[in-house]
Amino acid sequence: MVSMKSKISHYFASMALLSGFLLALTGIVYALSVNLTRRSDPGEIAITYGFIGFGLSLILTGINLMIKNPKEYHLHIVGTGLVLNFIGIGAFLALYPQGYPVWVYPNVTYVAAVYAAGVCLLAGNAFANTVLIQIEERARQLSEIESEKIKSHSEDEIEKEVQRTLENALTNKDGFSKFNMALKDTEYDFILGKGLMESEKKVTVRDDIPEVENLKFASTGKHVALDEGLDSTSLLLARATSTPSRGKQTKGIFNSKTKFFRRH
C-alpha cells in the first residue's frame, strides 16, 4: 500500500517537473517573441535565461524526486544542487544587466561555475541512482532465478540422490572387471620345508574397530542404537494403555458405591 508521504512526494516531484518544463518553455517562447539576439536588451536576455535556467533546475529536481528508494543523502544532494542553481541564476539576474565592468571575468566564471556545479549535482545524482537501481534490480532477478532453480529440487530429492551415489560407490565394483578367473587344481612342483607346515605366527592387538559402524552409517545412513530409556518408556506406556480401568475400581467413594449396588 502506497503511503501518504510517498503520494505527496510523487505529487511534489511531478509538479516540480511540470513547472520546470513550463518555465523553460516560457523562456523559449519569450525569446522568440522578442526576437532575442546577442545584441538584444540585457533585461530581455536576463529574463529569457532566467526562465530557462530555473526551468532546467526544476526539471532536474523533479527527476531526482521521482526516484524510488534513493540512496543515503539523496535529499541533501538535491537540495544543495537546487540552492547552487538558484544562487547562480540569482547572481546572473543581478549582475548581467549591469554590463561592463560588473559582468566580466572573474564574476562571469564564478556565476557559471556555481550554476554548473548545481546542474552537475542534480544530473549526476539522478544518473547514479538510476544506474544503482538497475544493478540492484538485475541482481535481485538473478537471485530469484537461482532460488527458483534450488526450489525445483526438494530436500528429500537431494538427500535421496546423495544416498544413491554413496550406495553405488560402496556396492559397485567401479573400475574393476567382474570376470572371475577360475584356477585348476594344481600341486606344487616343489617340496615344502618343515617351517611351512607349521601355522603362521600372528600379531594380535587391541582394536574395537569403531570405523565399521561409522562406515555402515556413511554408506546406509542408518545407525543401530541401543536406547534403553526409549524401550522402558514404551513398556510403561504399553502397560498403562493395556489396563485402563484398574485405577477406577480401587479408589474413592465410587468403589464403595459399586460394592453397595452389587450387594443389593
Binding site: A169, Y188, L215, G221, A225, E228, D231
Partner: protein, 365 residues
C-alpha cells in the same frame, strides 16, 4: 568372520577380527635361491626357516630371505615389482600363491568375505593392474573366500579417516607403488597410483652410492631418520634426498589430478600409510612439502600414525591397508547379514532376553 588382505610388493598382510582385537599375520613377499645340501636343509629345518625345495635348489621365503641375502651378499627375488606381479620373475605366481595361502589360511566358514587391496592404475607408467588383481583374487577364491577388490588408497581412508567421516586423502607409500585416493564421505573422487615407492628410493640410492640394494633396504629400515643431519656422501643422506624427491613427485601429481576435477568444498584430512612411511620424520617432511604444494582443496591436517616397533599397535602404518580392507569387509558382511553385525552382537550380549529389539535410527530426519 570376514578378513582383509593387503598384497604389497614387500609384505603380504592379512587382518582378522578377534574379540575386541585384530590379528595380523604378515609375511615378506620375497624369496632367496640357494644351493641345497643335507646340512643346509637340516639347518633350515632346525631354525624353522620357511623354504621350498625343487631338486637341488632351495628357495628361502619371507623375512629370512632378507637375512640370508645380507649374510651371503646375494640378491633376493621378488614375486612383485612396482605393485603388481612381476612379469620378469618366472616363479612369482607359485611363490605369491604359497605366501598368500600361508598368511590367509583357510576360511572359518563357507563363503567367507575377503577384501583384497589392489593398486590403482599408475599415472606415470603404462602398467595395468587388472591381471594382478584378478590373479590374487583367483588364489584367494580357490581357498574358498568370496573376494572383493578395494582400492589401496581407499582402504587407507577407511582405516585412518573414520573420525573425519571418511573424508580426506589416503596415501599409501609402499615398496613398489604409491597409491593416492581422495575420498568424500567414503566415496572416492580421485584415485591414482605412481609407479614409485620404497624400492625406487633403494634403487636410486644403490646407484648413487654403489652399494647393494638389499643393504640399502636394511639401512633404511634400521638406521635411518629424516629428522637429523647426515654425513656427506652417506647412504642416509642419499636416502633423504630420494625420499624428498618421491614426496615432491607424488604431491605434484596429486595437485595435477585435483586440478582436473571439481572437488567438493570441504576440509580434507590427509592420512599416510604403508611400510615406507615408517621412517622417522616422514610425516613431518610430508607436512612441510604439503604446505609448499598449493593444492586446490582445503587441508585440515596430516594424521600422524603412532609407530610402535614392538608390533602391538594396529595403527602401525604398515598394517593400515590390511585394517582398511578388514573394515570394508566387516562393513559389507554386516550389510549382507545385519543379524551378525558387531553392533548387534554387542547389543544382544548387553541386553537380556525380555528386552525389545534394537532401534534403527535413520539420519534422514
Amino acid at each position: 568372520m570376514a578378513k582383509g588382505l593387503d598384497v604389497g610388493t614387500m609384505n603380504i598382510i592379512c587382518a582378522t577380527k578377534g574379540n575386541g582385537s585384530i590379528s595380523f599375520s604378515q609375511q615378506r613377499n620375497a624369496f632367496l635361491e640357494m644351493e641345497s645340501n643335507d646340512l643346509t636343509k637340516q639347518m633350515l629345518d632346525n631354525g624353522r626357516v620357511l623354504y621350498t625345495q625343487r631338486g637341488s635348489i632351495i628357495n628361502v621365503l619371507g623375512e629370512d630371505a632378507f637375512k640370508f641375502a645380507n649374510v651371503f651378499n646375494k640378491h633376493i627375488r621378488r614375486p612383485m615389482k612396482q605393485g603388481i606381479i612381476s612379469p620378469e620373475e618366472k616363479d612369482s605366481i607359485p611363490m605369491i600363491k604359497l605366501i598368500i595361502e600361508r598368511v590367509l589360511g583357510l576360511p572359518e566358514k563357507k563363503d567367507e568375505l575377503l577384501y583384497i587391496s589392489v593398486p590403482a592404475n599408475p599415472v606415470d607408467n603404462q602398467l595395468n593392474v587388472l591381471y594382478h588383481g584378478k590373479t590374487v583374487e583367483a588364489i584367494a577364491s580357490k581357498l574358498g573366500y568370496v573376494t572383493c577388490p578395494i582400492d589401496e588408497g581407499l582402504s587407507v581412508v577407511y582405516s585412518e579417516l573414520g573420525e573425519s567421516n571418511f573424508t580426506g586423502i589416503g596415501i599409501s607409500v609402499g615398496a613398489g607403488m604409491t597409491n593416492v585416493t581422495v575420498a568424500y564421505m567414503a566415496t572416492p573422487i580421485v584415485s591414482f597410483s605412481i609407479a614409485r615407492g620404497g624400492d625406487w628410493i633403494d634403487e636410486q640410492v644403490a646407484i648413487a652410492t654403489g652399494m647393494a640394494k638389499e643393504r640399502i633396504t636394511s639401512i633404511k629400515e634400521t638406521d635411518f631418520s629424516l629428522c637429523g643431519e647426515h654425513d656427506l656422501g652417506s647412504v642416509q643422506g642419499a636416502l633423504a634426498v630420494y625420499y624428498d624427491a618421491l614426496l615432491t613427485y607424488v604431491l605434484q601429481h596429486l595437485k595435477r589430478k585435483l586440478s582436473e576435477t571439481a572437488p567438493p568444498d570441504a576440509e580434507f584430512q590427509v592420512a599416510i600409510a604403508g611400510g615406507s612411511t615408517r621412517t622417522r620424520g616422514f610425516a613431518e617432511l610430508f607436512e612441510r612439502r604439503l604446505k609448499e604444494t598449493d593444492l586446490p582443496i582445503r587441508i585440515s591436517g596430516v594424521k600422524k600414525n603412532r609407530f610402535n616397533t614392538s608390533g602391538t599397535d594396529s595403527k602401525d602404518p604398515l598394517y593400515s591397508i590390511a585394517r582398511g580392507c578388514l573394515i570394508a569387509s566387516l562393513s559389507k558382511e554386516a550389510s549382507l547379514n545385519p543379524a551378525s553385525s558387531p553392533s548387534s552382537e554387542a547389543h544382544s550380549s548387553r541386553s537380556s532376553s525380555h528386552k525389545p529389539e534394537p532401534v534403527v535410527v535413520s539420519n534422514k530426519s
